[in-house]
Symmetry: D2
Subunit: 334 residues, 4 copies
């Protein structure tokens, strides 16, 4: 069966709404940021990374968002365009807002951290009236990201986009992407995550993210099966719960659960693993592959990204993922 809309008449396979920002990755790695000297600039932000990943794999993609009216904003739009992503609905802020920044620090492959600049950022200033119903109606799939729910007016823009997507039969994917520093309280976070998730077809997140969403239910223990069942009671058809190194589990509304192996990688850093996984997995579903095969493809894409320096710029093409998986499997057999 198909988990994503297959409307033949849509000119865009995939659009995302939300954060567009800049990663500044330290060039000198395996040391604390106090000792790094130079940084390289990349486009970043979870929904941006996923969209770039999808576009690299050949998906016709677009983006709804807001960028700062400065050099950083222009760089972002131009990078997306070079990646064949439609930017017609990316608006430019004129209030003096800035582009969100993420300085990455790689002390070791397993000890990475991010220093965020998220005050007065343009992406959270997208207004509901700047979301085009016609644009959403042109798409098969809409991806929303939890961070865009963190503040007004971006929060309302996402709810408006959800309404338009429902109205036009666009499949909705929710990448939870919970970043505590942009939120006021756990209760506020859970409230809006839940209101959004009620309207989504596919929900992807870590166990910790789903726990946060269940904070108001005051349950004593978390259960993947109960979590998935809750969302099947609303609109969801597929819920993926990620358990870090222990792998991911996908629940489908037919009552089944699905897992897939992951692949070895020369890990440089952990950033970007989730975004490349989501890109690969959604690409798989769009090809009408099984949930298992799609998960495997997501894992392959993730292995490639964690072994390179950036998130967005390292996103592989579909054939690169296929080769990687084939190589891993043949080595395994030896």
């Amino acid at each position: 069966m198909s988990y994503l809309s297959t409307h033949a008449d849509r000119s865009l396979d995939f659009i995302a709404i939300g954060r567009l920002c800049i990663d500044l990755n330290a060039n000198e790695i395996n040391r604390p940021m106090e000792e790094t000297v130079t940084f390289t600039k990349y486009v970043g932000g979870s929904p941006a990374n996923i969209t770039i990943g999808m576009a690299r794999m050949g998906v016709k993609a677009g983006f709804i968002g807001k960028v700062a009216g400065d050099q950083m904003g222009r760089f972002i739009v131009s990078y997306l365009e070079r990646n064949q992503i439609n930017t017609d609905e990316i608006v430019t802020d004129h209030t003096g807002a800035v582009t969100g920044l993420a300085f990455t620090e790689i002390k070791s492959p397993t000890d990475c951290s991010i220093l965020m600049y998220r005050d007065n950022v343009a992406d959270l200033l997208l207004r509901p009236e700047e979301v085009s119903e016609a644009y959403i109606a042109r798409a098969k799939v809409l991806l929303i990201s939890g961070t865009a729910l963190a503040q007004s007016p971006s929060r309302e823009a996402v709810f408006v986009a959800l309404d338009f997507a429902k109205k036009h039969g666009v499949s909705i994917v929710f990448d939870l992407d919970y970043r505590p520093y942009t939120w006021t309280s756990k209760e506020e976070t859970a409230t809006y995550y839940n209101l959004a998730a009620e309207k989504c077809d596919i929900i992807i997140g870590t166990r910790e993210e789903f726990d946060m969403m269940e904070a108001l239910e005051r349950r004593t223990e978390s259960s993947d099966a109960l979590t998935a069942a809750k969302w099947f009671g609303y609109s969801a058809k597929l819920v993926i719960i990620k358990h870090g190194k222990a792998g991911s589990i996908a629940y489908t509304h037919d009552g089944l659960s699905h897992t897939a192996a992951s692949f070895p990688a020369k890990v440089v850093k952990t950033f970007g693993a989730g975004d490349s996984y989501a890109a690969g997995f959604l690409y798989g579903l769009m090809q009408n592959w099984t949930v298992e095969k799609s998960m495997e493809f997501g894992s392959g894409a993730a292995s490639i990204v964690v072994s390179s320096h950036s998130c967005s710029d390292a996103m592989p093409t579909a054939s690169e993922v296929e080769s990687y998986i084939a190589r891993c499997k043949s080595e395994e057999m030896k």
Copy 2:
């Protein structure tokens, strides 16, 4: 059929969540406020007025809200208690917030206005974690009021209350009560009104309020029947649309519409008409009266309130409404 929950085991017939404030009504009427000298103090706020109205009619009522930690806050709680309203879940603010004020100006029976003080008010500081699931589970009916959605954290507190009510089979009534001055933009307002209304059993508002909620749909003309149909697509069973002097129309999810006559009144001011109407109407539904009879009872209560000086303190008992209606009908017959 019954439009409200009839759980026999609930110790409270009705609870409301939201605004508790103070009306300061000019004693000298039929003149601009520049020329008034003295004011009389009453408890006010739409959900407070409705709850007081219900309690006067004999309904076992409670309230979830937050009051300022000062003389005004203490006056409100003590007034509710004197009216037999359960105040166990009214919490007191300790941040220095104030009580909302409404100075009323009555230039003539048809030219009334309100001067509001709504900055830093305690009622909008109710937090989601201050909403008791057990308390809501004790009730048959929960009333929410749109103004409580205007700001965080009160907004999230209402959504949490809606979740608890759904979980425990508590009927939900949404009194739209739209006050533009507490909101940032039409789009923000419409977003949260819609998210709340999707979860409600009964929705009561003016035509203008429903138009505001439909702002994002960019429809060219408004239609009561379409408005009602939209909400029957979610949880609603009954939608009342008020057209001022032209009367109200109630749509029920069986496809029928209902109207009822209104009664003559010696109008002193128009304030409080909607709140007393809601109290009377909901009281009627609780008695398992027909929609028409309930609407008539609401109209009777409203006629009594608009002919007196206050909103809350003028709320009639059920037998006062009955006598009034009987008297009006017998005079009519003459």
Copy 3:
């Protein structure tokens, strides 16, 4: 000698800059506000009260300030005009700011308190570019009040007014009027009080207010003589330190200190004592009376005000104060 400017060519004897607000005095006294029912509306705010007091005594007075664009604001302007106060430089806010309110509670003559509404008040929105140099140049004396320093842009408006007054030889009186709830921190308060006081000719305040101003000096004990000496090192010629019931002491820059007796009164409440004292005292200085006689006149005015229901509306004329003092003295002699 003269402590106040005697420019013969000035068309205004006295102007004040700052707070214009509304007092709502409970009509039912000697009980907590929870039990009061009606309130009477008066113009209030320390500099407003002093200006009204001065005008009642026959001084040609004006006011620089900002009022809300509503009924309360219009009431204030019209009341000042009825008291012969020039209101040419009172501007009206158009941002939706409100009029500050003070609800007074009189539990007993010695147990009085005030419930303040000071969020988003118009008086603190006076902008520096709204202060007219020409208007200040028309005056002999400018009175500033500490509360106007509490927030931008009113704070900057006061400093601009001080500069204009210095430039045109207008005597400056600083009524400290410290209200902790409008300030962020003690250090912030002390900083701006000191910067303003450095430019003033006459400083009037309570011992506690002067202590607050000396907070950054981290002195262990307070001394009236040291306090006065500090300000004589800047621009001051006269410093009055009030010790409540123990009376006031005035230091003059010639090294002398001055005290005066107070008069008996049937005290209704303590509000307004300081403002009427200031009005009477400054009126005395304007008549070229001695410091002692001016202090006595201030005490007489204060005794009259504390024995009535309001602050502003109870301000006496000069002959009423004279009669009162004469009566008190003759009774004493008996």
Copy 4:
């Protein structure tokens, strides 16, 4: 004569209070920032640059400020320490504030711009109670920078520092350093610049900066001589007004004015010219050189800095400046 304090008993020659931030200079120059890829990290902020410049020249320097509690903050403190600057009074923020950033763009030697990140920056959170009187009492000279006046509580911290400096006979230098984006209005800016300047011994700024300070005086034309005379009416002994390429003019309170030649330079960018000039000039005054010789030394330091990639890291030693000036003069003679 001496323009700076010569107290022999002071353990620090020079301390500055204010901004500590990070410059991120594009490595690829002569192109718009949209096309740059990598950035190099330096300590920045006008008072930081001046202090580093002074320390390089051999002056015993210290700093009063606040840094973010993150890798950027730790980098700043460690860089200052490596430059022999006392950091005992640099406190660390614990509220989640960030380090101010300045991304520099060098399109051509004469077309440079800066993209600033100044929201929620740690440096503006320095509180008055964090300013140590004892530390200031240990210094000969205190430098303040206008940007530190832009917001509370940093603004109050500067005024407290000024009071302590006055009390202990520490000479005060005011580097105007006006950055419009951190201020609300011209009137607010002028108000606090003037209040601070009234207490300073040496004031250094551009003609445009002095014009801003005179905005409230509504003069029709600006005059260097009138500007200087105004400040001699308060505490100033020396006022330097910079006219860009046309050179600087120094007024001294003896009524004289002074100019000095500037030197040729292979200009890479214009950033840092003012800071290195100030460092060199103040170093000269500390050596008891004439105003002219000090100005020449400042010009030499500026020529060196504008021909290199950074501001802070390029600050020369005293002997480097001397050699440079000697070389320029000998070449001139040829």
